[in-house]
Subunit: 219 residues, 2 copies
């Protein structure tokens, strides 16, 4: 073994323990932040949820703010992946249906992350401000261009593109952020697989018909 290999191996081993602990803590923190908000969450609650002593959290994350920032940044990667799923090479119906499907799946699989994200934006985006001003702005500019071309080509009805995206974001994220209310209206039970299918179907149908393309038949 060369020095490089040894260093790499040692690093790898350490990284494994470290990564496992960090992930355990981040998972716990994401849930507690989602349930209580940043101010309402205590390091002790996060430690209890992670089944680790509180001092151990501070060994991996220097401060509560640093921990929160990493939670948000981890969610950001999921958001970016979903944003990429809007395939502009497809026709409007296919592209939008697939994008809505992806966003609904994100809400379904990352309800805590979605809540943290919503709270982050509601409170003025202290962590993701730069992302909003750079990546998201550019993403929106690019997609507005595409949607306008769809309009010019007569593929969809005239609409201000950003308001269409707000509808899609709001509706899909609602299923995570307001899950509690949805569950109450669902007789107190979480949405079943069939419920999710039906919700996706109806959301896609309203949006596609709403922008003037015939939704694909899903009898």
């Amino acid at each position: 073994m060369s020095d490089k290999d040894t260093a790499a191996a040692a690093n790898g081993k350490k990284t494994e323990i470290r990564l496992a602990a960090e992930r355990r803590i981040l998972d716990a923190a994401e849930k507690v932040f989602a349930e209580r908000g940043f101010g309402g969450a205590s390091m002790q609650q996060i430690a209890d949820r992670a089944e680790l002593p509180k001092a151990n959290l501070h060994y991996y994350f220097s401060t509560k703010e640093a921990l929160y920032r990493q939670v948000v940044e981890r969610i950001l990667t999921i958001w970016l992946d979903a944003a990429d799923s809007l395939d502009v090479t497809e026709d409007p119906a296919t592209a939008l249906a697939s994008y809505i499907d992806t966003k609904m799946e994100v809400s379904r699989k990352h309800p805590a992350g979605s809540k943290v994200w919503a709270a982050e934006v509601m409170h003025g985006a202290p962590v993701i401000q730069v992302y909003l001003e750079t990546t998201l702005r550019e993403w929106m500019a690019g997609r507005e261009y595409i949607v306008r071309r769809w309009i010019d080509d007569g593929l969809i009805v005239p609409i201000e593109p950003r308001y269409l995206f707000y509808m899609i974001w709001a509706t899909t994220q609602h299923y995570a952020d307001f899950a509690h209310q949805i569950n109450v209206l669902n007789d107190g039970a979480p949405m079943s697989d069939d419920d999710w299918l039906a919700a996706k179907r109806d959301v896609v149908a309203v949006i596609l018909r709403g922008v003037g393309v015939i939704p694909p038949r899903v009898e």
Copy 2:
């Protein structure tokens, strides 16, 4: 003056001072809770915002929880008024367009209240749980019945009514809860009157066309 009049007058005077102070505090609390969340808001911050000594807050509201509860209950009345604005005696296009308009105006005029409401639901509705289980459930049952009749009468396309309402709630409330993000994407400026008009127009258009009714011409 009779005893009743005297008592009423005295009561009235007191109530006036009391109501003014309570309103001042509730307004400040709503904003601070919206900006920082319940856990992140301190009584001192609310006191500063209301330009009153902290001890004065505790004279009118015994605890932080009690103050928060009254903030939420005040928002609830606004929510109930908006819910009433869905006029089921009208045809679907008129009823839905008017309801969306009302909900958009609520988001525009009560952005802080909307954020507090969203956080309340996200965190499991500690205060409004009973409202969700009674009033809202009944409201939804009644409206589902109406929407189903619209469907049976061939006035709108088949859809699970609650998913339609989720779309309307999510989209309209998004303009308050995610106003920060919207402003960033609007070159950092708050939406103008024209922006609000355009947003309303596009939301109404997508929903109405989405459920299969021709949106009224708004050239």
